[in-house]
């Protein structure tokens, strides 16, 4: 598990094509037969982490994991804003608006309080199932979905910001401009616009 996470972190910092990297991560996790991560031992609830470094408009915490940046007016970094957009399009139909949960999928504002970055990545890539108690909860395998995986760090930082209460409900009131590096990465991952 941690091997995969470290691998993702290392390669992401190296700035390679994020989709390819995450695909490999997804495959590695599958090969290792890792079970649904939230059932693993939950780490103690962490203190909100601060951004200590940034590169091309993207922020990282002391662990080198992606993190949000919010100013006193509620303006967020572009990645966090993009995460809000993509979350609302790809995840909201099950996990509810603003990560608040629905009648059949958990509130990610709570899940992210304990779910690590690595576990988050592998859950999204591999999905999970809970067919007990008349619920039939199934999270799909999203490892091949570019609309999710090309923006997975964005979605993570947005949800992390929501779970730390650094960003409120609904659309963030402002955001940094779209960095060129983000746009390049989007095109590399999604393919050039037609």
């Amino acid at each position: 598990m941690s091997v995969v996470t470290d691998f993702v972190k290392e390669t992401r910092r190296a700035g390679t094509n994020r989709f390819a990297v995450l695909m490999m991560a997804a495959l590695a996790v599958t090969a290792a037969q890792v079970v649904a991560p939230a059932q693993a031992v939950a780490p103690a609830q962490a203190e909100p982490r601060a951004a200590v470094s940034s590169q091309d408009g993207k922020y990282f915490d002391a662990e080198g994991e992606p993190i949000y940046k919010v100013d006193s007016n509620g303006k967020v970094d572009w990645y966090t804003y993009s995460g809000f957009q993509r979350y609302s399009a790809e995840c909201m139909r099950c996990h509810g608006p603003d990560g608040m949960g629905s009648s059949y999928a958990p509130a990610l504002v709570n899940s992210l309080k304990t779910l690590s970055y690595g576990d988050f990545l592998s859950t999204v890539a591999n999905g999970r199932k809970n067919l007990e108690n008349g619920q039939d909860k199934v999270m799909p395998t999203l490892g091949l979905d570019k609309n999710v995986m090309c923006f997975i760090d964005d979605i993570y930082t947005y949800l992390k910001a929501r779970s730390d209460d650094a960003v409120g409900r609904a659309r963030p009131p402002g955001h940094d401009p779209k960095p060129k590096a983000w746009e390049d990465a989007e095109n590399a991952c999604m393919g050039a616009p037609s």
């Binding site: 993509r86 609302s88 099950c94 509810g96 009648s103 509130a107 008349g134 999604m190």
Partner: protein, 600 residues
């Protein structure tokens, strides 16, 4: 003697016609108000019952008579059927069917539970709902989540045949009921958020063999139109009417899904249904009118050929699926009795059309909050005749990708979603469960992967500005396009209505109340809080001389997504928050059937 002979002849001719023009078992069943053999009550989708034992004078004394837990926790849409002395109850995924013996306190006669791959669950947009069973010729028809259509022997629950209508791996799923017409079973499909090229398919009622399939977009032979004979607003649609309105082969992932309620006119031999939103939700990515998504269709059930089509929302920019029910009524317009089709679209307009010709007669807003279009152009001489006049400020196409268009009413879930309206021939009014919710909509680029969501827009939804209520239950005059009365509801009304000859109208609320109101005034006459929020449809039947009213509880569906967490209003001050309190403060999950009657 001679005249008697003649009248006998004409009666038997009439009976023969009935056999030829509809499914005899369904027609017989719907003509008997003691039974409820179709989800919509009858082919006309009026959801009206002639039973009047429960009426405006005594409904206040109504009380639960018995109840039944379905054992499933997710959203429960649709309603049970009653055929003879047996009630048939369905559930959301895993799509269990129960046959309950009404002569024996609802004892389970048989139970059918299909084996389905649970991977279909996340492919379904917006919960794993199912809108119920159908009955014909001694068979119960179930259309499962994974698109398997099953015919069960109504007596034993034994599978008589099954057919596979789609592939969940490509995003094809089912939530809808099916419609038996004559010797065929008409079946729709879901997957508008997964880039499915959606269709309506006819199967042989006896064998399950596929007879015809008509797509919502594509070449003329695939959409089953005749360029010369099929009309739109009175004119032939011409060659390649769909292909011309898409860029390249985008129609192959064009959506236009068919998961709504179908109606049928036995005299005209036409089936009516709606097609849904074009895929993706990002309008910039699919230039053109995207025909024939967002359209009302009239088709011949024998041949599958379309007689007329009317596109309500060309080039959708808001996800205003056109699938809602198509009730058929006969009413006077301008002093002339006409065969009408009435449709309350997600886009907030209530349409009244001549169902013979497809002529547009009335198109008016049935929620005053609707603002994305100023009106529908009713001028026959105008080049934009029949089209909505879109307000640029609310056009997500005009504002473009990565731009947040704010304050659009209605929200994507529509001024009304699938929850069907009822019509009372006694009052001449429609009773419509509505949503009073607006949205911000920001489209952006998406890429298509088979079997993966293909959405491409970020939405935020909130109550209409200035109001705290997210729903209204309204009475509507379809001949004039006017609201007659309107009862505000705290949450969207997500339950199908029932009108009866007892001068009352029933509906359910998301908090879980079954309500009965006066059909003339909307005055509340009775309410009872059931075990969970109601997104099912109210039905009625009579057994051993006693009238019953039944409804499924079990909150979920689209309503469960936004409302479980409460909708945030980005434009409201903190003081408004209490008014939009979360539905989870009122109700919890749980599928249950509650059956009401007057005390004996």
């Amino acid at each position: 003697m001679k005249s008697l002979f003649a009248s006998v002849l004409s009666v038997s001719a009439l009976a023969l016609n009935t056999v030829a023009f509809a499914n005899e078992s369904v027609m017989k069943g719907t003509q008997d108000p003691k039974q409820w053999v179709m989800q919509a009550g009858g082919y006309d989708n009026q959801r009206y019952s002639k039973l009047d034992q429960i009426n405006d004078a005594n409904v206040g004394k109504l009380a639960p008579a018995w109840s039944f837990s379905t054992g499933v926790l997710r959203g429960h849409e649709g309603a049970p059927l009653v055929v003879g002395d047996v009630m048939y109850v369905h559930t959301p995924f895993p799509n269990i069917v129960y046959a309950l013996d009404l002569n024996n306190d609802g004892k389970i006669i048989w139970k059918y539970e299909p084996k389905q791959d649970p991977n279909v669950v996340p492919v379904m947009c917006c919960d794993t709902v199912n809108r119920g069973l159908a009955y014909a010729d001694g068979k119960i028809f179930l259309h499962q989540a994974d698109t398997t259509v099953v015919a069960l022997d109504a007596k034993s629950g034994k599978v008589e045949w099954s057919a596979v209508n789609g592939d969940p791996k490509k995003g094809e799923t089912n939530t809808a009921t099916v419609l038996p017409v004559k010797d065929k079973l008409l079946v729709g499909i879901s997957g508008g958020e997964f880039g499915v090229q959606c269709h309506i398919t006819a199967y042989d009622l006896k064998t399950g063999k596929k007879v015809w399939r008509a797509y919502s977009e594509g070449p003329d032979d695939q959409i089953m139109v005749d360029p010369e004979k099929t009309t739109a607003l009175g004119k032939p649609i011409g060659k390649d009417s769909s292909l011309k309105t898409w860029q390249g082969d985008q129609w192959k992932t064009g959506g236009g899904c068919t998961w709504g309620w179908y109606s049928y006119d036995p005299e005209l031999n036409l089936v009516y249904y709606g097609s849904g939103n074009p895929s993706t939700w990002n309008p910039k990515q699919r230039p053109g009118d995207n025909k024939w998504s967002m359209s009302i269709w009239a088709r011949d059930p024998d041949t599958g050929m379309a007689k007329w089509i009317y596109q309500m929302t060309p080039h959708d920019e808001w996800d205003y699926d056109g699938v809602n029910e198509m009730p058929l009524v006969e009413q006077k317009i301008d002093g002339k009795q006409r065969k009408l089709l009435v449709h309350f679209d997600r886009n907030g307009f209530g349409y009244t059309l001549d169902r013979v010709s497809g002529e547009l007669l009335v198109a008016e807003k049935y929620d005053p909050a609707v603002n994305w279009a100023s009106k529908v152009d009713m001028d026959k001489a105008s080049p934009t005749y029949g089209r909505p006049l879109v307000v640029a400020k609310y056009s997500t196409e005009h504002n473009g990708e990565d731009e947040n268009s704010q304050g659009i009413c209605p929200a994507a879930l529509g001024s009304k979603d699938e929850q069907p309206a009822a019509f009372s021939p006694k009052t001449g009014l429609f009773y419509v469960p509505t949503n009073h919710v607006c949205m911000d909509y920001e489209p952006f680029r998406v890429s298509y992967t088979p079997g993966q969501p293909y959405v491409g827009a970020t939405l935020a939804m909130y109550p209409a500005p200035g109001d705290a209520n997210m729903g209204n239950f309204i009475a509507w005059d379809a001949t004039k396009g006017k609201i007659v009365w309107s009862d505000p509801e705290q949450f969207s009304v997500w339950s199908g209505a029932l009108a009866t000859a007892g001068n009352i109208v029933f509906y359910g609320t998301l908090e879980g109340y079954l309500k009965a109101v006066d059909a003339k005034t909307g005055k509340l006459l009775y309410k009872y809080k059931t075990p969970s929020g109601i997104i099912g449809n109210v039905m009625t039947y009579q057994h051993k001389g006693r009238q019953y009213v039944a409804v499924l509880s079990g909150v979920g569906g689209w309503a469960g997504i936004g409302l479980a967490a409460g909708l945030a209003d980005p434009h409201a001050g903190l003081g408004a928050v209490g008014g939009y309190a979360a539905l989870s403060n009122y109700t919890a999950l749980g599928g249950a059937l509650t059956v009401f009657a007057l005390p004996e």
